[in-house]
Each structure stands twice: as C-alpha cells, then as structure tokens.
C-alpha cells in the first residue's frame, strides 16, 4: 500500500526531493521519540531508569539535530534544525506514527522503544553504506547509539514479559495495541523505492525480514505473542498522523510560537 508523495512528483530533481523527505522522516522520528522520552525524566520507576531513558532521549535529540540540519541544507531555503523542529505543523512532519503514540506506562514505552530501536538499527546499519556520504556519516554515529538503545529496550521487554503475571499482561496489551503502527516501518512507498534504487537508502523489503527476526527473537525470550498483522495502517511518514502529534507539537513548539523571532 503506497501513496504518492507530492513533493516527488513534479520536482525539478526528484531524487533530491525524495532525499529531503527521507532525511526528514528519520530526523522527525528521532525528534518525536526523544520528545516523548523526555516526558519520563523524573518520573520513571527507578532512578536508574530516569537516567537510562534520559540517555536515549539525548541520543535521539542529537540524531534529530544532525538530520534536520542536513535536511535544511538539502532544502536550501535557509531553515536550520530549530526552524524545522519548531516551526512546521503536523502535516509537514514525517515521523513514523508509532513514535508519537503516548508513553502510557513504562511497559508501553519500552515496547514502543523496542519496535523502533530494532527498525532504526536495521536502517542505520544499512545507511552506513549509503551512496549519500553525509547520511552514511550520520548513520555511523547513530548506529552505535542505537545498539545500546536496543539492548536497553530488549532487556526490559524480556524482564517485563517474563516477569510477573501483571507485567506480562501489561506488555502483551501494549504490544497488541502498538502493533498496527508497525506496518509503515516495513512497507515501502515511492520515496523508499526511489532512494533504494540509487543506493541511498536500504530497500525496505530486504530490511523487513531482518527487523521481523530481531523482534521475534526478543518476543520469544520475553514469552510474548507476536500479534497478527492488521489490514489498517498509519502513514505518519507521509504526513498523515494520529491525533496525538498535534498536542506533542503544541507543547514542544510553544515558546517559538509565542515569541516569534526571539533568539533563545
């Protein structure tokens, strides 16, 4: 299932336009997930988890800064990381719908993290060999961070899945509810396909089985059931989001919107 991405069609340089969109997808995904994790800091189940989640949030914000800066350069309209993060509206955000889902309890946050970490790890590993040098450099840094993130989220998924009856129930429910949002992680659209054909981005159809294998391995160890695939899917990566993104942006962008033009 794909939709046509308007910026690609009719663009003077379709590859460049697709690259811009793709870099925004990655950057926005890191930004929105980092923003969500930021909500936890000071409220986690233990001090160690406050620090662990803060670490991941910091890495994600760092990735977002590199990616959005690069996006601004590709776009060539003088927008920097902050103009892109704070002055775009929801339909111009291209993050995965999964990352904008509310934190819920710690188990839900962990399941969301696992699903994204495993995906980001596959993407960044592949991007290390991208024909786009800048993207390859960013990926080389991000891949190291993401390995650590996945160790953290997989470790907790196993502990919670194979912990108490209550913890098992909670993470299984979270997994069932978040699963529909994973469809777009492994479903290529025209942008994915175009960039894959140029060696810029990995072909999602090759990435999908590796992502599935990683997830299945963790779920097995966590004694969790892989949910059935569902027909309906969200496509945040094409700017079509759930209702949650608007609130997240309203909070994140508040100061820049309330005081236009101020420097911080």
């Amino acid at each position: 299932m794909t939709r046509t991405a308007a910026t690609v069609e009719g663009a003077a340089d379709p590859v460049r336009a697709a690259l811009l969109r793709y870099v925004l997808r990655l950057g926005d995904t890191s930004l929105v997930l980092g923003q969500r994790l930021g909500e936890w800091i000071g409220h986690a189940p233990a001090l160690e988890e406050d620090l662990g989640l803060a670490n991941i949030a910091l890495d994600l914000i760092g990735q977002a800064r590199l990616l959005l800066t690069y996006a601004g350069e590709i776009e060539g309209r003088g927008r920097d990381e902050d103009a892109l993060a704070f002055l775009r509206d929801g339909s111009d955000f291209f993050n995965l719908t999964l990352v904008e889902q509310p934190n819920g309890d710690f188990g839900r946050t962990i399941v969301r993290q696992l699903l994204v970490d495993a995906w980001q790890l596959e993407v960044y590993e592949a991007l290390c060999a991208s024909t786009d040098r800048r993207l390859a450099e960013i990926a080389a840094k991000a891949v190291k961070e993401t390995r650590y993130h996945l160790r953290y989220s997989a470790g907790w998924t196993v502990r919670l899945g194979d912990g108490t009856e209550e913890s098992h129930r909670r993470v299984q429910t979270a997994l069932d509810e978040l699963w529909p949002f994973t469809v777009e992680l492994v479903t290529a659209d025209e942008i994915d396909a175009l960039l894959a054909s140029r060696g810029i981005a990995p072909p999602l159809e090759e990435l999908a089985p590796r992502w599935n294998a990683r997830i299945d391995e963790v779920l097995r160890e966590a004694t969790l059931q892989r949910p059935a695939d569902v027909p309906y899917a969200w496509f945040g990566k094409q700017g079509v989001h759930s209702e949650h993104l608007g609130y997240l942006l309203a909070e994140m962008q508040f100061l820049q919107r309330a005081y236009p033009g101020a420097r911080w």
Binding site: I41, P45, F86, R159
Partner: protein, 332 residues
C-alpha cells in the same frame, strides 16, 4: 548484610567501659583535627554517623526532587540545543542522587529506607525545590542562582571529613559549576533578547532571589547543627558566611546581566568590603520547610506516583531475576 556488619562493628568497638569509649572518641577527633579522612569501616561516634546520614540523604533527596522543577521544561525547551542541555542537566542531578545515596549507604542505611523516608515526608530536602518553574527563564535562574548557591555550599564539602561524601562531592561540584554557567548563559541570552524576554528574566530573578538566599539555612544564631558539624569538619563555613559569599559573587553578575536584585536595602559596604542585604523572611522559610510552600504537595506527590506506578516494574525485574537464577541452578 554489609550495613548490618557495620552496625555490629560499631557496637563491638564501643567496648564496655566508658574510658575505652572516650579513648576511641579522642582518637577519632584527633584524626579529624589532623585532616585525615574517616572511612566507612573506621570507628565513629553514633551522632557523627547520624548527622552524616541526615545530611547526605537530604542532599540526595534534594537532587532527586530537584529533577522535577527543571524537568518541567524539558518538553518545552525553546531550541533543540537547549533541550539536549537541559536533559543532560536533569540526568546529572539523578546521577548525583545516586552517588549520594551510595555514599549514605556506607553509613548503614539502605536506599529503600531513604526513599521511604522521603516519600513519607519524614526526610527533608532543599526548600528551594518547592517553588514553581513558571517560565523558561526559571530554568536559567535555577542554574544561575540555585546551582550557584549549591556550589558555595558544596565546594567546602569536597574537604568533608567523611571520605565517601568528600569524594562524591568532587565530581558533583565539577558538574554543578558547568550547570551554573549554562544557567547564566540562558539568563544572558534572555537579558539581551526582546523586551519580553528581558521581562521574563527579571521576573525569574524576582521570584528566585530570596529563596536562593534561604538555601544556606537559618542564621548562625539559630542553626542547631553548625557548631558540632564544624568540629567534625563536616562543615567548614557557617550558613551566614556562605550566604554572604554568595551575595558578594552574585550581585555583580546581576549587574552584568542588567537585572535588578529585588532588595531595596542592598548596598555595597566599603568598610566591610561586602554587600549588605535586607532581612530574609524566615517565616516563609519555616512555612516552606513545614510543607506549606507552593509546590511541596505536588513534588512529593510526583515522587510517590512514580514510585507507586513503578512498583509493578520493579517487582517484574525481581521476579525475572529469580527465574533466571533458578534456570541457572537447574542447568548446572
């Protein structure tokens, strides 16, 4: 196990006779007078141990509660760089809480016990964190003033007689001074920004100035613990000395920012070479300490909620570790 061992060590070493105990105490004080460090396994008077447990755990609690008012702005930080710096800062505070809890644990109390004391309201933490962070400028003011005041208090603690506390403080002070500079830089950006930003900065200074001065504790004449703590070299300067030092350092910084300290009586005293400042409202300090500050209830409520809502997670981690252990035994 370790902590129980310490307790019995203390009792065994106390011996039977009063003379023996006086000798131990004299040796302990001589060590302190010679600027030697007291280590966890050394004999120490029970009151020294209790004083340190109280002080270090209060300090740890202050770091942990202190994560909340600043954490309040993580999701609304105005730029990505500011967001990253703020996350790192709040994370450092959690880290400080962890080293300090560990330092206190060497004195025979567990982190769980300390946490329970905090959640039940039995333990105190710095009164400053019971004030709200209403604007982004408050994040700057906390870094500049609150971390600035904390550094004044904490630098002498790097030479505290109790080894584990002194060593924890060395690392903490390094990070705090970094935070203080970041806070000042936020204030400077605002003070040189738009009129609205400048107003925000002045408003934050107006609200945080007096509570920051209260952070040094009651005046020397009313301070219960000062004299003994100074003999034990837990404390090196009195509350009033440190407060004066803070004012002397901070007033020129406010001038540099172009902001006005909210004290009509503030003036430079040529004779003493110090700033004289107006009376502190100790009634407010007492009220906040007694639980009637603007955010006492919310701060503790947030900690309790995190603790209670995290109970199932901690239980699951223990249950899982148990299962793994059992499987290990079966496999072996």
């Amino acid at each position: 196990m370790y902590t129980q061992g310490l307790d019995s060590l203390g009792k065994d070493c106390l011996g039977d006779s009063a003379a023996e105990s006086a000798a131990l105490e004299a040796r302990f004080q001589a060590k302190i007078d010679a600027e030697e460090k007291i280590e966890p396994k050394d004999w120490m008077p029970e009151a020294y141990r209790r004083t340190l447990i109280r002080q270090i755990s209060q300090h740890a609690h202050s770091e942990v509660i202190g994560m909340l008012p600043e954490g309040n702005w993580i999701t609304r930080a105005p730029t990505l760089r500011r967001k990253a710096v703020l996350i790192a800062k709040v994370q450092d505070e959690g880290g400080h809480g962890m080293y300090l809890y560990s330092a206190a644990e060497t004195l025979g109390i567990s982190r769980d016990q300390m946490m329970q004391q905090l959640l039940s309201g039995a333990a105190k933490y710095s009164s400053i964190f019971n004030y709200p962070t209403l604007t982004w400028a408050d994040v700057g003011a906390i870094g500049w003033l609150v971390d600035g005041a904390a550094i004044m208090n904490q630098i002498p603690l790097c030479r505290c007689s109790y080894g584990p506390y002194a060593r924890a403080m060395v690392r903490i002070c390094r990070e705090e001074s970094f935070h203080q500079r970041q806070g000042f830089e936020i204030m400077l950006t605002l003070a040189r920004g738009t009129p609205e930003q400048k107003r925000m900065a002045q408003d934050a200074l107006d609200r945080w100035w007096w509570p920051a001065l209260m952070m040094f504790g009651p005046p020397d004449a009313q301070s219960k613990h000062t004299a003994q703590s100074m003999r034990w070299k837990i404390k090196r300067f009195t509350n009033d000395e440190l407060r004066q030092k803070f004012v002397d350092v901070t007033v020129p910084q406010a001038e540099y920012l172009g902001l006005k300290i909210p004290d009509p009586e503030l003036r430079w005293d040529e004779e003493t070479q110090h700033y004289r400042f107006g009376p502190i409202d100790w009634g407010e300090f007492e009220r906040v300490l007694a639980g009637h500050g603007p955010c006492n209830r919310e701060r503790l409520e947030a900690r309790r909620r995190a603790w209670e809502e995290g109970a199932w997670v901690r239980e699951a981690a223990i249950a899982h570790a148990g299962k793994r252990g059992q499987r290990g035994v079966q496999a072996a």
